[in-house]
C-alpha cells in the first residue's frame, strides 16, 4: 500500500497489521539504543499546511528513530493566497527527493489529492474535518495495550463531532474492530446523518457513562462559541465535561482518553486530569510507536512492491 489516507482503506486486517508492527516498534523504543537503521537513506517530508507541533514532532521523532532523514516544510498560509496551487507546492517538495510525505492540511481531502499527484508515499497527518488515521491507530494501540478486546467494547466519543477528523476516523477504526461507539454531543455539534458513520447518538452524557469502557473526550475549539453552536464554554462543561461527579459514575476499569491538548475546565475538570484512568500520556508515547509502524510499512510496501 503506497499511501495511508484513511482508516477505511485499512479495514480490520490492515489495522491489525499496523498493531503488530507497532509492537515491534515498541520493543525498539525500549532498547538501550532506541533507534534502528531501517529507513536509512530515506527522506520523509513533513508538509504541515496547518500548525500542529504535537503531530509534527511525533512523526519526526518516529522517522528519526527509523534513521530516516526529515525534511520540514511549513505552509500555514493558504496556498491560494500565495498564488501557488497545492500541486505546485507538492511537486516542489517532491523535486527535492522525498520518499514519503506526511501531510497535515486544514482542507478535507488534500492528502487524497496529493496522493494522486505524488510518486512518494503520502501519509495523512490530519485533513480538515475528514480523517486523522494515525491518531486513531495510536488510540487503538493505547486501548489494545491495556489488554482490552474491541469486540463488544463500549466507547463513547464526547464533544464536537461535527468538526472533528479525530471523531470520524476513530468511529471508523472502532467500528471496524467490532466496538460499540456512541457519539455524545449537543445536536449543533453533530453532523447531519451522523448515524451513517456507524455510531449511536446521544445528547446525554450522564445516560451513557455507567456503561462506558472508554471515554474519549474531544477538544472543544473556542471558535465554536462564535458560531453559536453552544451558548458558552461553561454550559458545555456542565453538560458534556468530565466533572468529578461524572468521573465517579464512570466504571473503575474504564479508560479516559483525549487527543490533546486538553482544555482544562472545558472537556475535563482540573481535578480529574490526574485520575489514574487517564491515558493521555500513553497516547502521546504510542503516537511515536504507531507512526514508526506506519512509516515502516508504507515505505516497505512501496519499496518492495507487490509479489512477483
Amino acid at each position: 500500500m503506497k499511501d495511508l489516507l484513511t482508516i477505511d482503506q485499512l479495514g480490520a486486517s490492515g489495522i491489525d497489521e499496523i498493531m503488530q508492527a507497532a509492537d515491534a516498534m515498541a520493543e525498539v523504543c525500549a532498547r538501550p539504543v532506541p533507534k534502528v537503521p531501517a529507513l536509512k537513506g530515506r527522506t520523509v517530508a513533513s508538509m504541515f499546511f496547518e500548525d500542529s507541533t504535537r503531530t509534527r514532532t511525533s512523526f519526526e521523532t518516529a522517522a528519526r528513530r527509523l534513521s530516516a532523514d526529515v525534511l520540514n516544510f511549513s505552509a500555514s498560509s493558504s496556498s491560494v493566497n500565495k498564488g501557488e496551487s497545492l500541486r505546485d507546492t507538492v511537486e516542489t517538495i517532491e523535486a527535492m527527493g522525498v520518499d514519503a510525505i506526511v501531510v497535515r492540511h486544514r482542507s478535507s481531502g488534500a492528502p487524497q489529492q496529493i496522493a494522486r499527484w505524488a510518486k512518494a508515499s503520502v501519509i495523512n497527518g490530519g485533513d480538515g474535518w475528514h480523517a486523522h488515521p494515525t491518531q486513531s491507530l495510536l488510540d487503538v494501540y493505547t486501548i489494545r495495550e491495556e489488554g482490552r478486546r474491541f469486540d463488544g467494547l463500549n466507547i463513547a466519543i464526547v464533544g464536537d463531532i461535527s468538526h472533528s477528523r479525530v471523531a470520524r476516523s476513530n468511529v471508523a477504526a472502532y467500528r471496524a474492530l467490532g466496538a460499540n461507539v456512541t457519539v455524545v454531543a449537543p445536536p449543533t455539534l453533530l453532523p447531519p446523518h451522523v448515524e451513517t458513520l456507524g455510531a449511536s447518538v446521544s445528547h446525554d452524557l450522564d445516560a451513557v457513562l455507567a456503561d462506558t469502557d472508554v471515554l474519549y473526550l474531544l477538544r472543544m475549539q473556542r471558535e465554536r462559541m462564535d458560531q453559536a453552536l453552544v451558548p458558552s464554554l461553561g454550559e458545555y462543561h456542565r453538560a458534556f465535561g468530565l466533572t468529578l461527579d461524572r468521573a465517579r459514575t464512570l466504571p473503575a476499569s474504564s479508560l479516559i482518553m483525549h487527543p490533546g491538548p486538553m482544555n482544562r475546565g472545558v472537556e475535563i475538570s482540573p481535578e480529574v486530569i490526574d485520575d489514574p484512568r487517564v491515558r493521555v500520556l500513553n497516547q502521546v508515547t504510542n503516537g511515536v510507536i504507531v507512526r514508526m509502524a506506519v512509516l515502516y510499512l508504507v515505505l516497505s510496501s512501496a519499496a518492495g512492491g507487490s509479489a512477483p
Partner: protein
C-alpha cells in the same frame, strides 16, 4: 455562398433530405441534386436540429481572459452545437450599464455564435442598488441576473420585481425576465458541497437544500405579489422542482432551468475530493438528480443549460474547499444528455433550443423549425458517434470538465450560424 447538408434527417422525427442554405436562410429542403460551387456537408446518419441556445454561460470576458474569452468560449459553444449563448454579467467590470452591454457586443463581433448579453440586477452585482434596467431594456437586454449572487435583501428584490413589470413596453412587448440565483447565504456560508451523508463522511461543510428552497419560496411569493416574470436558474433540489410545478399550476409566469451536470452527477462524485465536481449549487443526492430529470421530462423544468464556468487549469489543483466552483459544459452537453440521461433528442431540442430562445428573447432567430425561409442557425448531430472526453482538447481556455476521461455517445458534426458553417466535421472554422 451556398451550403448543402446532404442526406440528413430533418429534425428528431423527420425524414431524410438535403438542406440548402444561402444568405443566412434555409432556401430549400428536399432531394436537391448537384449544385455547382456549393459547400457540401455530410449529413448521413445525422440529424439536423435548430442550433442550441444556452440560457446560462460564463464567458469571463472582460476581466478573466486567462480563463476564457468570447472567442474561445463561443468556439466551444459552436462545437457543442450552440448558435446562441446568454453571457452572464459576472464579468469584471460587471455588465450593469448600457455601455458595458455595448462593449460586450463589440467584443462578440465575429464570435462563433450569437452572444446574448444578460445584465445585472444590481449595480456591480453588489445586491444594493438597482441597475438602470430601463436603459438596459432599451438597448435590448431581456434577461437580468446577478449570476451566482443572490439578492438577499427581500425589500430590494421586491422593488426590482415591481420595477421590471413596468418595462414590458420598453422591451418591445415581452416581459423582462428576472433570472435569480436562489441561495440563503446564511445557510450556505462556508459550504462547498451538498449537506448530507457524503458531506458528513468527507468532513466538508454542506449546504442544505433549504438554502435554495427558502429563497425560492420567497421569490415565488414576491413574483405572485408583483406579477414579474421570474426564471429560476440551475435548480438543484427535488423540493424546488415540486415548488416550481405548484407555482406553474397556480398560473404563475415562472420558468426554470437545470444544468446538464446536475442531471448526471450527485454528491457521491465528490468522494474523490476532485474539485472538478465542485459546483454551485452543489450536486445533491440521487433522489434530487432523478427529480430534476423527471422535471425535464414532464416539462416542469423548461430549459437545460450548461452553466459553462471556466476556471484556469491550476485552480482545480487547489484543495476542494479552496477551489472555485463550476465546470465547463458546451462541448459535452449533447453527448452527456444522450449518454447519461433519459432525455430524448426531441426533448433536448425543446429544452435546449426552442424554449430557451423564447425566454432569451431571440426566438425569431433561434430555435426555429427546420423549414424553408427560416434563419439558418442549425446543428447537425450524430447520435451514435462515440468519443472520449479530453478536457485539455476542448476549445475552452479551461479544462475543468467532470466528464474528462469518459466516453460519450452523441456528438455535433456541423454547426451553422447565420448561414455560415462555423463547425465542419467537428472542426471549428472560426
Amino acid at each position: 455562398m451556398i451550403t448543402i447538408i446532404r442526406n440528413a434527417q430533418i429534425g428528431p422525427d423527420g425524414d431524410k433530405a438535403d438542406v440548402r442554405i444561402e444568405n443566412g436562410t434555409i432556401s430549400a429542403i428536399g432531394d436537391l441534386g448537384e449544385v455547382a460551387g456549393a459547400h457540401e456537408l455530410d449529413g448521413s446518419d445525422a440529424v439536423v436540429v435548430p442550433g442550441f441556445v444556452d440560457l446560462r454561460a460564463h464567458l469571463r470576458e472582460p476581466g478573466r481572459e486567462e480563463a476564457e474569452t468570447i472567442a474561445t468560449g463561443s468556439r466551444g459553444a459552436a462545437l457543442g452545437g450552440f448558435t446562441a449563448v446568454v453571457a452572464m454579467p459576472n464579468t469584471d467590470p460587471a455588465i450593469d450599464s448600457p455601455g458595458a452591454v455595448r462593449d460586450l457586443r463589440a467584443l462578440a463581433e465575429g464570435a462563433s455564435c450569437e452572444v446574448v448579453a444578460a445584465a445585472a440586477l444590481t449595480v456591480g452585482r453588489a445586491g444594493a442598488l438597482l441597475t438602470p434596467m430601463g436603459e438596459l431594456a432599451a438597448v435590448g437586454v431581456r434577461i437580468f441576473s446577478d449570476a451566482d449572487r443572490t439578492v438577499s435583501d427581500t425589500g430590494l428584490m421586491r422593488r426590482i420585481m415591481e420595477y421590471a413589470t413596468g418595462l414590458t413596453a420598453v422591451a418591445g412587448g415581452e416581459p423582462i425576465v428576472l433570472s435569480h440565483h436562489c441561495d440563503d447565504v446564511h445557510l450556505s456560508a462556508g459550504a462547498h458541497m451538498h449537506e448530507g451523508e457524503w458531506s458528513t463522511h468527507l468532513g466538508i461543510r454542506g449546504v442544505p437544500r433549504e438554502a435554495e428552497t427558502i429563497m425560492l419560496a420567497r421569490d415565488i411569493a414576491l413574483a405572485r405579489k408583483t406579477g414579474c416574470r421570474l426564471h429560476v436558474p440551475h435548480v438543484s433540489a427535488a423540493e424546488s422542482v415540486a415548488m416550481i410545478a405548484e407555482a406553474k399550476a397556480d398560473g404563475l409566469a415562472i420558468t426554470a432551468d437545470v444544468t446538464v451536470h446536475h442531471l448526471v452527477f450527485t454528491d457521491a462524485d465528490c468522494a474523490s475530493f476532485d474539485p472538478v465536481f465542485k459546483v454551485t449549487p452543489p450536486f445533491r443526492t440521487e433522489v434530487d438528480r432523478a427529480a430534476l430529470e423527471a422535471g425535464v421530462l414532464d416539462g416542469t423544468i423548461d430549459a437545460i443549460v450548461t452553466d459553462h464556468a471556466p476556471h484556469e487549469p491550476h485552480t482545480k489543483e487547489f484543495p476542494f474547499d479552496e477551489a472555485p466552483p463550476g465546470v465547463i459544459g458546451f462541448e459535452t452537453a449533447l453527448g452527456a444528455l444522450l449518454t447519461d440521461t433519459d432525455v430524448s433528442l426531441g426533448r433536448i431540442v425543446e429544452a435546449m433550443s426552442i424554449v430557451p430562445a423564447q425566454i432569451a428573447g431571440i426566438g425569431e432567430r433561434h430555435g426555429r423549425p427546420i423549414a424553408v425561409g427560416q434563419p439558418a442557425n442549425l446543428a447537425v448531430v450524430d447520435l451514435d458517434h462515440e468519443w472520449s472526453v479530453d478536457g485539455s482538447a476542448m476549445a475552452s481556455r479551461s479544462h475543468n470538465t467532470p466528464w474528462h476521461g469518459r466516453v460519450l455517445r452523441g456528438a455535433v458534426r456541423h454547426t451553422i450560424f447565420e448561414g455560415d458553417v462555423v463547425v465542419d466535421g467537428g472542426e471549428a472554422q472560426r
